[in-house]
Every structure is written in structure tokens, then in C-alpha cells.
């Protein structure tokens, strides 16, 4: 059972108030129509799925209703930190859509 610190409400609240929204820092391609199938497929479906620290998006859906990011260890489930979407966005490596990084 997680106690998650909502950076908007500035309170620890129980896991049940939140919804998991998947990997954070996914960048939608600027111009989808100029994407190759590979770039678009990578953006839509391919995820890092790490065993260890994971940057992920949650929403406080039963609270303030707003989105924020969480750094959590997927092995121990320990939550390292939570931060606003606009915070750290420069030094968090935004996930570039890599081509060539794929299986066939």
C-alpha cells in the first residue's frame, strides 16, 4: 500500500486516491504525419519497463484531479520522490524517440 505525496495538495494520501498513468516524459512527436511507422510505433507502444528506478506519471484522481510525476523503485516499490510535471523537465532526460532501438 503506497502513501503518495501529492505535490499539488502537499499531503501524503493513500494509494486508492490515485491512478497510475504510465511512464513519464514520453514526448509525442511534433509532427505525427512525418513520422515513420517505426518512430510512431516506438512512441505508442515501446516502453523502458526498467527493473529499478522508474519515472512514472500518476494522477490524484480522487483528490485534486491533477497529474504529477513519481520516481519509484519497481523492485522494492519504494517511492523516492514526487514532483510537478513542469519541474525538473529540463534535467530529466526527456525520452527521445529513438529509432534503431528496436527488435524486428
Amino acid at each position: 500500500m503506497f502513501l503518495i505525496f501529492c505535490p499539488h495538495c502537499r499531503e501524503y494520501r493513500s494509494e486508492e486516491e490515485f491512478h497510475y498513468q504510465g511512464e513519464a516524459h514520453l514526448v509525442r512527436p511534433q509532427d505525427p504525419r512525418s513520422c515513420s511507422d517505426e518512430e510512431w510505433g516506438n512512441y505508442l507502444y515501446f516502453r523502458t519497463n526498467p527493473r529499478g528506478l522508474h519515472r512514472e506519471m500518476w494522477s490524484h484522481s480522487m483528490g485534486c484531479g491533477r497529474f504529477f510525476n513519481v520516481v519509484r523503485n519497481t523492485e522494492t516499490y519504494e517511492i523516492k520522490s514526487t514532483y510537478l510535471l513542469e519541474e525538473n523537465s529540463k534535467d530529466q532526460k526527456s525520452k527521445e524517440i529513438k529509432s534503431g532501438n528496436r527488435t524486428t
Partner: protein
Amino acid sequence: MQRFSGFGLIGQALGYQEKWHRMWRNPSPKSAYDVVIVGGGGHGLATAYYLANNFGVKKVAVLEKGFIGGGNTGRNTTIVRSNYLWDAAAKLYEHALQLWEGLSQELNYNVMFSQRGVLNLGHTLQDMRDIQRRVSANYLNGIDGEVLSTEEVQAKVPMMDCSSSRRYPVLGASWQPRAGVARHDAVAWGFARGADSLGVDIIQDCEVIGFEISSGKITGVNTRQFGTIGAERVGCVTAGNSGVMASYAGLQLPIESHPLQALVSEPIKPILDTVVMSNQVHGYVSQSDKGDLVIGAGIDSYNGYGQRGSFPTIEHTIEAIVELFPSFSRIPMNRQWGGIVDVCPDACPIISKTAIENLYFNCGWGTGGFKATPGSGHVFASSLAGKDMDPIAAPFSIDRFYTGALIDEHGAAGVAH
């Protein structure tokens, strides 16, 4: 291999049960193999068995980082069925179901496959339309199925509350009589014993920590305990850990690993002689031969590798079961556990070649891999032994995430995915 039989059992009884052999060897790895299977769960062991038995590949090793069948093979709710909507999925799961039907004889090992039927309940008009559509699609694929009315469901499962006053009344169900349950550990042990007797080396406590790749081609695997083991071909069948294995090869997969929980009650007298699944209230339940109710539902929403789940998910699971069976509300639950399932965006597996030549992946089975164990092993073995992918496995190529030819079973299969 010591064959099992009724007379053998009597003979062993007379010999004070002291003459049983070990069911498989515990060999040290050779320096190289034709095929190395990474992951000693049901799918990996089945792959090794069919490689040796059906496709004549004898120099095969199965590398398992823990003990065989200790992952999802030993953690699922053992349901076997094949009533999937889309052709590709229906063919794959029906192939598996047909192998299940002769599996105990083939392996000379009782996998306790019990075709007690599976009910997929409908609670809304749209549910019933979807059920009608799915059963009709099943007919066209040669898969048995019926649409049952509320009364017919009630007659099959007297303990279930099918009254119209429920919040989610049972309006009917799809019924697949050939579906059922099997003994999960026995499946791993039966395939391990069969594979071992054909010369497959099953190496436990052997963790793969990397791949040997030269000029885009796989040449071996690096293990923590035994160093490098050479391999002509490598098949990764590592379920929840597939993303980690892919990263060792510099690849990424369209899967995310989630905890999936199950729980069992204390043993009670026979009360349920079939499998009841409901997508709408989201839970499924059957009764094991031992008498405990085996209960499962959906995944925990977040990514995780912890092989345990959260309490809110257990609560939601139990809510669903008690909605269907109010009388179960007083039964104490005995044990609860979690496994790590590799979930694909379209809820169908990936059985595929990769950008690395001779490195194959069989993963992404998500929440429904157990039912496919023999079929998955068979088509993967066929693919590993041949030049091209097996025709049943071909639609499950990882390329579908680029071409858009997804096999969208999410919600379509009438199941708790």
C-alpha cells in the same frame, strides 16, 4: 526415464517407496548448445521438450535463475480455455488446448487436466451481444461454445446468485465445455521430466546476465554462475523479466511488467465444479481438487517486479467474487501471492525473431499465459528449429506494433485480462 504406471505404483508400494528415481538430472552446463532456452517456466520447458521430441534438436539447455516452475507457472490460477475472438489468437490457444487434451499421456505424467468447462458471464446487454459475437467467431474457428441463459447458468452453478435484483445481474454466459483447469506445478515437472529424458540439460540456479553478440548475431549467453555458454540460437521465455533480458541485447519491447495477484481460501467441501469468470465485475473463481477456492482478478495498475501486490487490488478482487457468490463472504482466505506478468498493449503475446540474428523472444503473455503452455512451447520450438516462424506464431511478430496489425484481444476475449 522411469515410466509411471499403475503396476509401477503397486511395485513401489511393496518396495517401501524407496526405488523412485529423480525425475530429472542436475547437470553442469556443456560449453555450447544448439539451442539455449532462457527461463525454466512451463513455456521454456515445453519449448525444450518439443524441440527434442518433435523437431530432433537434441543439444538443448534450459537455463533457470531460480528453480523450475518457481515463477508464474507456480503462481497462476490454472485456467485453460481457447474461446478467443480473433482468428490468430483463437488458433494459437486452440492449438494449445488440443495439446492439453493428450498431454498427460504424451508426457506419461498426470497434469490433472480437468475439462470442467468455463463460464464467461455477461451482466449487461452489451456483454451478451459481445458473448454472442465471440461464440459465433469461435464456431467459425472450430472451437466449441454455447451461449447460456440465466436459468442455464443458474443450473450449472447453483451457488451463484443469479437473481435479477443484483446490482450486476447475470444475464447469461458463454460456456466452453472443453475448457477447464490443470495442475500448474505438474505441467512444469512433466515437461522437465520429458525434456530431461530426451537429453535436454535443465540447469537451475543459473542466471543469464548478458548475451554474446558478434556482428549482429548471437553466439552465446553470459551466466552469473557458469560464465559464457555458447549457443547457435537463443530463445528467451522469461515472462515478467523479458524487458530486462531485452535490455541485455540492447533491445526494447512493447511490454510493461505488472504484479498480478491470486489468492486461495481454506479448503471447503465441493461447492463449484466449473470455472466462473466475469469481465464486468472483474474476477474469476474455481475450486481446486483440494477444495480451496482459487480466486484471481486484474493486475495491479503500476509497473513492478516485486512478486507481490497491493491490498486495494485484493479488496477489489474479493468484492467481485462476493458480488457473484454472496455466500463466499464468510470463507477465510488462506494464502495470497503475486507474480510478474508481461503485459502487451494488445494483450497478445510476442513470439518473434529480433533484430539480433538467432535471438528469439516468446513473451508478452500477460495475464493469460498458463493456458497456452504446450501450444506456446510447440510453436516456439517449431520456430527455433526451422528457418521461418511457425505459421501459428507468425501473426504474433513484434513487427505488428509498427505495421498496426494488432490482435486486439483486450476486452474482446470476454476475459479478465
